[in-house]
């Protein structure tokens, strides 16, 4: 695979904004419009209870839901209906103090704008594991049943992608503290848990940042590029790229970024990461794929039942839902309202989890590991609405009498995103998902 040359794109940035780095400060000067689509792989670690997020609201599934859901049942009047038969958890559309009739926000707003797709019955129909570790590994590697694959599914996509846009840093960002499995084996992938933290910032403050009040003072980190000048071996070349990358990331000044469209990112790990990602996209950094994680969904105990309109009611699951909804909504608003145009027309977010949870709550007011689940997609070129097929809550439809069945292979949704949004020829799917039998798009994404 070709290693990106930071120097080359440095020059491009200089041409756009007269000084490298200036381009990042003023969004008007950036966004020369590579037009490259971006796929965001947002993983809900821990096994989100999809039946608690997208809830039967009326009709036969509601009847079955009420008969089987046990202590995890959410009453109709605490839900935010989105169709005749389905509703969202109230915190996907409002805060804890907001009644369900308040103006829809976040995910519910995006649903109303037909930008949110809900895929029912998603998961791994070919293989079963109720182990977080195994199931996550299988999905991230794109090889259900095999966690020993040496490359992640996104790594294999990058190899199949043909020409990728020039990258300031990398075409692939993993927002994580260690390299995500989906990008395993991708040497050029860039792993940062927080873009603000990709900097050599460990020196004592007195010699860390350049102090403009002191004539001649210069922050120690400025020296690193000089230390790696000269020398022609592969190590020196790699070091110079790293030093360039550090300088570029500092120039991007992630801390002072101003979102557009009044977007308000939540003050959370996910919020920060999505804000960093929006900045990378606006800055034409060449990012094509990004992975993010949002965990905490392993709700074996005290999962929580919403009580909208009561600001002091504690709802563990609801807090997670709101944290997710706010972050993706801010990201959507920031990019769609950009002065560069509606950038969400070339950005798609896919949200998924390793498995759903038991239909019936357990003895600890929580839910145990299950099987089928919902999967979400969000973007300007997403066909909003329901996709796939709800597997059914009647006794005959349940998997092992306790879980939602899996009716949609999660790889079909990812494959469709690659083909329809990132322009991968369908023949390339054989490499990306070697054990996927055939490609059958659901129509989640527009061509």
């Amino acid at each position: 695979m070709k290693r990106r040359t930071f120097l080359k794109s440095c020059c491009a940035a200089a041409a756009a904004g007269s000084l490298p780095g200036m381009a990042w400060v003023n969004p008007l000067l950036a966004g020369t419009g590579s037009g490259q689509d971006v796929l965001v792989y947002l993983y809900l670690r821990g096994g989100i209870d999809g039946l608690h997020l997208v809830v039967p609201y009326a009709g036969p599934e509601r009847v079955a839901y009420e008969s089987r859901r046990g202590n995890m049942l959410i009453p109709e009047d605490r839900l935010r209906p989105i169709s005749a038969h389905w509703a969202l958890h109230p915190r996907a559309g409002g805060g804890p103090g907001d009644p369900v009739t308040s103006t829809p926000r976040w995910l519910q707003r995006l649903w109303l704008e037909s930008r949110l797709a809900i895929v029912q019955g998603a998961g791994m129909p070919t293989d079963l594991s109720r182990s977080h570790f195994d199931a996550q590994a299988w999905m991230d590697l794109g090889t259900p049943g095999n966690k020993n694959t040496s490359q992640g599914w996104l790594t294999r996509y990058l190899q199949q992608a043909g020409s990728l846009p020039p990258a300031t840093l990398s075409n692939a960002f993993g927002f994580a503290s260690t390299q995500p499995l989906a990008l395993m084996g991708a040497n050029q992938a860039f792993t940062v848990s927080n873009a603000q933290e990709f900097r050599v910032d460990g020196f004592h403050w007195s010699w860390q940042e350049t102090n403009p009040d002191l004539p001649g003072h210069q922050g120690a980190h400025h020296r690193i590029q000089n230390l790696w000048q000269s020398g022609s071996g592969p190590l020196e070349q790699a070091g110079r790229l790293a030093a360039e990358a550090l300088a570029e990331m500092r120039n991007m000044n992630f801390a002072d970024y101003q979102p557009e469209g009044g977007a308000q990112y939540p003050d959370s790990g996910l919020g920060t990461q999505m804000r960093n990602l929006a900045q990378l996209i606006k800055g034409d950094s060449g990012v094509v794929v990004a992975t993010l994680d949002y965990g905490g969904w392993d709700t074996h105990e005290g999962q929580g039942i919403p009580n909208p309109g009561n600001p002091n009611h504690f709802d563990f699951y609801g807090n997670l839902v709101q944290g997710l909804s706010e972050a993706v909504d801010a990201f959507y608003t920031d990019l769609s309202q950009s002065t560069q145009g509606n950038l969400m027309n070339r950005v798609s977010i896919v949200m998924l989890s390793e498995f759903g949870r038991n239909v019936t709550g357990n003895q600890s007011n929580g839910t145990d590991h299950g099987y089928g689940n919902v999967m979400l997609a969000l973007g300007g070129r997403v066909n909003g609405g329901f996709h796939g097929q709800f597997p059914g809550l009647d006794k005959g439809s349940l998997f092992e009498n306790q879980d939602l069945e899996t009716t949609v292979d999660y790889r079909q949704v990812l494959a469709e995103a690659l083909v329809r949004r990132l322009g991968l020829p369908a023949a390339g799917l054989e490499q990306v998902f070697p054990t996927l039998d055939s490609y059958s798009p659901l129509g989640v994404f527009q061509d």
């Binding site: 020993n148 694959t149 990398s170 792993t191 050599v200 460990g202 004592h204 790293a242 550090l246």
Partner: protein, 567 residues
């Protein structure tokens, strides 16, 4: 390519002197020191002046000293290491001496199953391995321990593995790291961690799980180089030893059948519901064993219960492909990413001839260390982040007692930054272990995060203005005791010698001197002793501005040099 030829930075800052000329006429002592350092950098976690002195005392020629040093290090049990052990004892770790049944009782079944207590066994093993890398006198042995942890990788921090990880490290890897591979393999096959990680605990008649069997052949023994996908039994040619030269999926399935019933006393519902079936130990559950004969790499195995797996391991351990596969990895670890094939072959011969010797691995390592490749200084390796961190600690006289879960300062921050390098202890998820080639460790992401760690190391100190982990100030004042010696040039050269000990490019050295001297002449002493450890604000004169801090920053910069990244 050889960064270590010629003199030290002080003698030959250009570092590109005429090799032939240097070989003939340079002071013999410099040449000998250079060789000692090169060997020690390659086969230890970092060279200190006392290590070089010791090496030089071991004989009359480089070859003799090398042979003696190797013999000493390979007889690792004869090296007294009580000081290192005392440090581990003093750290107060609670789980390192627990038996597997105690680990299971306490951290899987008992009162210490929550966070973080459940993770103490892996966390404390991780902390102890840093202490050992920095302080143990059995340096080569500790490097082999790390090698075998990669070879027999398990995801140490995984929920089911973390509470029993101590056993895998202490009872399988460490006793055999320089011993006999066949013994290590069987010990590994029986650790609770491995039985969980590669799922053999669930491998039973009528419900095969091939995960262990496949990785056993692909990664642990024969190697994927001799995998013949889809070949039928009997379709792979036989070698001169009568064994098939490789393996196929059919072999994987039959090996899996041989290992059926190798499981864990984990209270499985099919076991008798009595306490002795819930101890966390390995056991062979005969009613889960698949009957019938099996066919493995060209040889029939008659039904023999538990013995079948022993026979499989015997076959795999004496196989030519195993010898080559593992010796190539060893040579890659210690010589070069692309090691000389002749050395791989000669090492593999010894490996195979000595497959039953109790010191098989030590014999192979002796061959590799005393090879021409080492004597002639061939090859180049890039330090992985763990080697960078521990080398910094070793060379700066660090005083460390790492703990996970005991606050942010200093070890929470140290581990956080270290893990972001992508090389956190026992965190590699896949069974192939952390990679061992430079390309994997020189991406912008890895290098950037590693430098972020290195920029912090000299500033880390114990809480409440306690001592710094690295003894930068103390070593400086010991090495250069007179204040008039504290010129930027002297300080840079002294630390270059201490940390790298070989020539660095002159412009890099100049860059370091310019940073340290600021507006002072390079030969004017700097004030390191007023108001340590930080010094004073000095707006009008940068050379007096927080000078001890600037010294530590300069030491960090040496740690970030390309020359320091090679070993």
């Amino acid at each position: 390519m050889d960064q270590f030829a010629g003199g030290t930075s002080a003698v030959s800052p250009a570092g590109d002197g005429d090799r032939i000329f240097a070989d003939r006429f340079v002071d013999q002592t410099q040449e000998e020191r250079g060789f000692a350092r090169r060997v020690l950098e390659r086969f230890s976690y970092g060279t200190r002046p006392e290590d070089i002195s010791h090496f030089l005392s071991l004989g009359a020629s480089s070859a003799e000293r090398l042979a003696n040093w190797a013999a000493q290090q390979l007889a690792w049990q004869s090296i007294a290491d009580s000081a290192c052990q005392a440090r581990i004892d003093a750290a107060g770790y609670q789980t390192l001496d627990k038996s597997i049944t105690q680990l299971w009782a306490d951290h899987v079944r008992g009162s210490q199953t929550g966070w973080p207590e459940r993770y103490f066994p892996v966390a404390e093993t991780d902390a102890a391995r840093i202490i050992r890398a920095v302080y143990s006198r059995r340096q080569l042995y500790e490097m082999l321990v790390e090698f075998w942890h990669d070879h027999f990788n398990v995801a140490g921090w995984e929920f089911s593995i973390a509470p029993v990880f101590v056993q895998h490290d202490r009872d399988a890897i460490r006793p055999n790291a320089l011993g006999n591979f066949r013994e290590m393999l069987e010990a590994v096959a029986k650790t609770t961690a491995m039985l969980y990680y590669l799922d053999n605990r669930a491998n039973r008649s009528g419900g095969y799980n091939e995960n262990w069997a496949r990785e056993l052949m692909e990664l642990h023994t024969l190697g994927v180089e001799v995998y013949f996908p889809g070949a039928f039994h009997g379709a792979i040619p036989l070698g001169d030893d009568g064994l098939a030269i490789g393996y196929s999926d059919a072999d994987v399935y039959d090996v899996a059948r041989c290992f059926t019933g190798w499981t864990v006393r984990n209270g499985h519902w099919q076991f008798p519901q009595t306490p002795e079936y819930d101890t966390g130990e390995f056991f062979y559950h005969s009613s889960w064993h698949e009957g019938g004969s099996k066919f493995v790499v060209g040889r029939w195995l008659m039904p023999a219960g538990q013995q079948e797996a022993h026979e499989v391991m015997d076959i795999l351990c004496q196989h030519r492909a195993t010898a080559r596969h593992i010796c190539r990895k060893l040579c890659r670890r210690f010589i070069d990413d692309e090691p000389p094939e002749s050395l791989v072959e000669s090492a593999a011969e010894i490996w195979r001839e000595q497959w039953q010797a109790p010191d098989q691995i030590a014999q192979v390592m002796a061959h590799i260390i005393n090879s021409d490749a080492v004597l002639q200084g061939q090859g180049s390796k890039v330090r992985r982040p763990f080697e960078l961190m521990t080398s910094c600690m070793r060379k700066t006289g660090a005083e460390i007692q790492p703990h996970h879960y005991q606050g942010w300062q200093p070890y929470g921050e140290m581990f956080s930054r270290f893990q972001q390098s992508g090389h956190g202890g026992f965190r590699w998820p896949a069974p192939d272990g952390y990679p061992d080639t430079a390309t994997r460790w020189t991406s912008a992401s890895v290098l950037g995060q590693t430098w972020r760690l290195l920029s912090r190391l000299p500033e880390l100190r114990m809480p409440n203005d306690g001592p710094f982990l690295l003894s930068v100030q103390e070593l400086t004042l010991q090495g250069l005791p007179n204040e008039e010696q504290h010129t930027a040039t002297n300080l840079v050269d002294w630390w270059l010698e201490r940390l790298i000990g070989a020539s660095v490019l002159p412009q890099r050295r100049l860059e370091l001197i310019n940073f340290l001297r600021q507006n002072a002449p390079a030969d004017q002493p700097l004030n390191l002793t007023t108001n340590p450890p930080y010094g004073n604000w000095s707006a009008g004169n940068m050379s007096a501005h927080y000078t001890p801090v600037r010294l530590r920053a300069m030491v960090s910069m040496i740690m970030m040099l390309p020359e320091f990244h090679r070993r």
